[in-house]
């Protein structure tokens, strides 16, 4: 399988700087999927910088430690993207490329997934402050997922 090596791409972009050290984990955490999908509430979580037009945009460069709650019934035409580090020209025309909100509604309507939470979640990638991310943003996100009764989180990075 031929695929782009983004570690090399990133290093080539910043030849004068010490190579960025990506987090390297040797194992992954695990929570078994207990419920059938058709009975599960599935939340979408996107790092593509998507926000609703009446919400504050993300800081488009890096280290925005906030997330947005996007009502699951939001019209796709009311969504905008604030993110300087990937080509979102297609996603601006069809947000489902990185935030498949319409497809999720269809899958819930036809019973493929059990239900949607009231809101999905979006944030902006390129957060290099891991301690702040883990101690500030993520606990708030997890608390909301639990409060909304989410059974399965579906993460779509851009």
């Amino acid at each position: 399988m031929k695929y782009v090596k983004y570690v090399d791409v990133t290093r080539a972009m910043f030849p004068d700087q010490p190579p960025y050290q990506w987090t390297e984990n040797v194992s992954a955490p695990w929570t078994p999927i207990a419920k059938p999908l058709s009975q599960s509430r599935v939340a979408l979580i996107s790092s593509g910088g998507v926000y609703r037009k009446d919400q504050p945009p993300f800081k488009p460069d890096k280290n925005d430690l906030t997330f947005r709650e996007i009502p699951a019934d939001t019209d796709a035409g009311d969504l905008r993207i604030s993110h300087d580090h990937y080509d979102h020209s297609d996603a601006e025309k069809d947000v489902n490329c990185v935030f498949p909100i319409e497809r999720m509604r269809e899958l819930a309507a036809d019973g493929f997934i059990g239900s949607l939470p009231e809101v999905h979640f979006t944030f902006m990638g390129r957060i290099f402050r891991k301690t702040q991310l883990l101690n500030e943003m993520i606990p708030g996100l997890i608390a909301r997922l639990k409060a909304l009764g989410v059974d399965l989180a579906f993460l779509v990075p851009a």
Binding site: M1, K2, Y3, V4, K5, Y6, V7, W22, T23, E24, N25, V26, S27, A28, P29, W30, T31, P32, I33, A34, P36, L37, V42, I45, S47, G48, Y86, D87, H88, S89, D90, A91, K93, D94, N96, C97, V98, F99, P100, R103, L107, F112, I113, F123, L133, L134, I138, L141, I142, L145, K146, V150, D151, L152, A153, F154, L155, V156, P157, A158
Partner: protein, 87 residues
């Protein structure tokens, strides 16, 4: 990193990714790899069939993954392969 934290908190996760090497380093619990240019992780623009197929495979098969950190490559191919020329 978010997937790992959510999973650790007791909510199972399934992720898409278009960056195989980065995902292999970070190891989210369950990942389906979509070999598309960045910005199209959940499918091609205005291609409802393609977007639906990606979502159905990832969500529908998430429960079949038994190995934490597994990355399953989905078979979809971007139409114009010149973007992979340097890979």
């Amino acid at each position: 990193m978010i997937a790992r934290a959510v999973e650790e908190a007791g909510i199972p996760t399934v992720s898409l990714s278009s960056a195989y090497d980065l995902t292999a380093l970070v190891k989210p619990p369950r990942t389906f790899f979509v070999n598309y240019p960045l910005g199209h992780t959940s499918g091609k623009p205005f291609d409802r069939q393609n977007q639906t197929a990606i979502l159905k495979e990832a969500l529908g098969k998430a429960g079949e993954i038994t190995e934490p950190g597994a990355i399953v490559a989905l078979p979809y191919v971007w139409d114009d392969l010149t973007w992979l020329a340097g890979a």
